[in-house]
């Protein structure tokens, strides 16, 4: 798992504990992202500088999305061009219908679901993806934000707040024609606080449950179960149609791009929270952002997700082996209780999701 010896780990523990008890009144900033400690330190230093500026800024309301009147300095990002944030709503032309279509809702007997396969993960967050295919002979639709249950090997439904479901334009009512399929993406935050999930139950038409097997996480789940007992748990479930004739619920990242976050570890309730998203191109050719991707952002739990279109008009094609940095703003509800939350940023593709999360400590 790591090339660090026991002695090196012991030394880090000793030094860290010594530092902690020597300054008990100044808790360390929340660890950012999932990188190495050196990267964490760089982020924290940048974060502290940025928070000082942000807190002094006035706030304006732009299309219901509050943001500072002036820009804060660069936030741990490359000293290159930063594409400014713009309140570009998610494309309504590509959004699925907001109301259920005049079709019956699919029932489990009409569907064939593949096991959800592990689709990626990092510390405390894992994702799965799979497909649901209509084997029935009549078209039907799937719910936009279905009730769902995460079930462990013992058949016990995990007690997790069902507040991580998709909302906004990326949700909808995927319509399936015979033999057509829909994609299922499941992301679990703080998964190590719960028993390993072996089945996903999705509540469908007729109040019937469709049970989808969930593949094993590559890391032995039983050993991970007690790693973060104090972490809050939430999840995000997206069901989107794969049928070309059905409008895609969102436009995903072009192949070859990955996303990462650079975000202040600390935010204040009521303010507009600025962070950066870096799209990296690992290929040897520039990648155009056309069509322009739709992204979702949100704090897991308190306010769901909001969906926007990336500010592609202000961006250039992502250069080969290079990156493009996008500015983001997220309004922090003034009523949010102080605590540690998960910031999520994702682009929902037709068959999977690309995204990143990080911890944010919110002070009142």
């Amino acid at each position: 798992m790591s090339d660090l010896s026991d002695q090196e780990v012991d030394e880090i523990l000793r030094r860290g504990l010594t530092e902690i008890v020597a300054h008990p009144d100044s808790p360390a900033p929340t660890r950012h992202d999932h990188g190495r400690s050196e990267r964490i330190l760089a982020t924290i230093v940048a974060t502290i500088a940025t928070v000082g500026v942000l807190t002094a800024m006035a706030v304006a309301i732009v299309l219901g999305h509050s943001r500072p009147l002036s820009k804060s300095p660069s936030l741990g990002a490359p000293a290159t061009h930063i594409v400014p944030w713009a309140a570009l709503p998610a494309s309504v032309t590509s959004a699925p219908p907001a109301k259920p279509p005049a079709l019956p809702e699919c029932t489990p007997a009409e569907l064939n679901a593949t096991a959800l396969a592990f689709a990626g993960g990092a510390t405390s967050t894992i994702g799965y993806s799979g497909t649901i295919t209509l084997v029935g002979t009549s078209p039907c639709y799937l719910p936009s934000a279905p009730s769902a249950a995460l079930i462990d090997a013992a058949g016990v439904r995990q007690s997790i707040p069902t507040n991580g479901q998709a909302a906004g334009p990326a949700s909808g009512f995927p319509v399936l024609s015979p033999s057509a399929s829909a994609s299922v993406s499941l992301q679990i935050y703080g998964y190590c606080s719960i028993q390993p999930v072996t089945r996903l139950g999705i509540l469908l038409g007729g109040a019937q449950w469709l049970y989808v097997p969930v593949g094993r996480y590559p890391q032995e789940p039983s050993s991970a179960a007690s790693l973060c007992p104090d972490m809050s748990v939430s999840w995000l479930l997206l069901i989107t149609s794969n049928t070309p004739a059905t409008p895609s619920p969102s436009i995903g990242l072009p192949p070859g791009l990955t996303a990462s976050l650079s975000a202040p570890a600390i935010a204040r309730a009521g303010e507009s929270y600025r962070y950066l998203v870096t799209l990296r191109n690992a290929t040897t050719s520039p990648i155009s952002l056309n069509p322009c991707p739709t992204y979702g952002e949100g704090l897991k739990g308190p306010n769901g997700e909001a969906f926007y279109t990336l500010n592609c008009p202000a961006a250039t094609p992502v250069p080969a082996n290079g990156s493009e940095v996008f500015e983001m703003y997220l309004p922090i509800p003034s009523s949010i209780p102080a605590g540690v939350y998960r910031l999520g940023w994702l682009v929902e593709n037709s068959s999977s999701f690309i995204g990143a999360t990080t911890s944010v400590t919110i002070s009142s």
Binding site: M1, D10, I20, D25, E38, G120
Partner: protein
């Protein structure tokens, strides 16, 4: 030993142990105070041998802090009180951040073992004796803490992550 001398000889050490378990300075001070109140009430029966007395105080502190941590579990995390002090502390801050994160992922029982071994320098057998738990449990908890720290320093690489459609 005079009561005041006992207090001053052990207070800071016990407070640090409690702080690692609780991750809250104020709560750690409260626990330390409770320990000394207990010791004061039972001072006639306190061990006379210094090593035994120190072990007794440490055990009571751990037990009190673990109990308090469980009561406080709903609150989670360290309350925010500004982090500017951590801005320019150099590499020590890096270790602090990672270890803070690791502590947050351990339960109070594990944190007690960590505090006694890494902070107070007790050996595995000594920790086992103080906390009255099997030696193997101590070793297991230390191994677990190292594993958590490794995970934080080298996160899992996504495997099979679908980069895009």
């Amino acid at each position: 030993m005079a009561w005041e001398a006992l207090y001053h000889a052990h207070r800071e050490r016990l407070r640090r142990v409690a702080f690692v378990i609780l991750r809250d300075a104020e709560a750690a001070s409260d626990v330390t105070q409770t320990v000394f109140e207990k010791a004061f009430r039972h001072q006639e029966g306190l061990p006379e041998e210094q090593g035994v007395l120190q072990a007794w105080l440490t055990r009571v502190t751990c037990n009190e802090a673990i109990t308090a941590a469980r009561r406080r579990r709903a609150l989670r995390w360290v309350p925010f009180s500004g982090s500017e002090a951590a801005q320019s502390r150099g590499l020590g801050t890096t270790d602090r951040i990672v270890v803070e994160d690791a502590l947050a992922r351990l339960n109070p029982n594990h944190r007690a073992v960590i505090a006694l071994h890494y902070l107070q320098g007790y050996g595995v057998d000594e920790v086992a004796a103080i906390l009255r738990i099997p030696r193997g449990t101590v070793a297991s908890r230390l191994h677990h803490a190292r594993m958590v720290l490794r995970r934080l320093l080298l996160p899992i690489e996504p495997k099979g992550m679908r980069r895009s459609s």
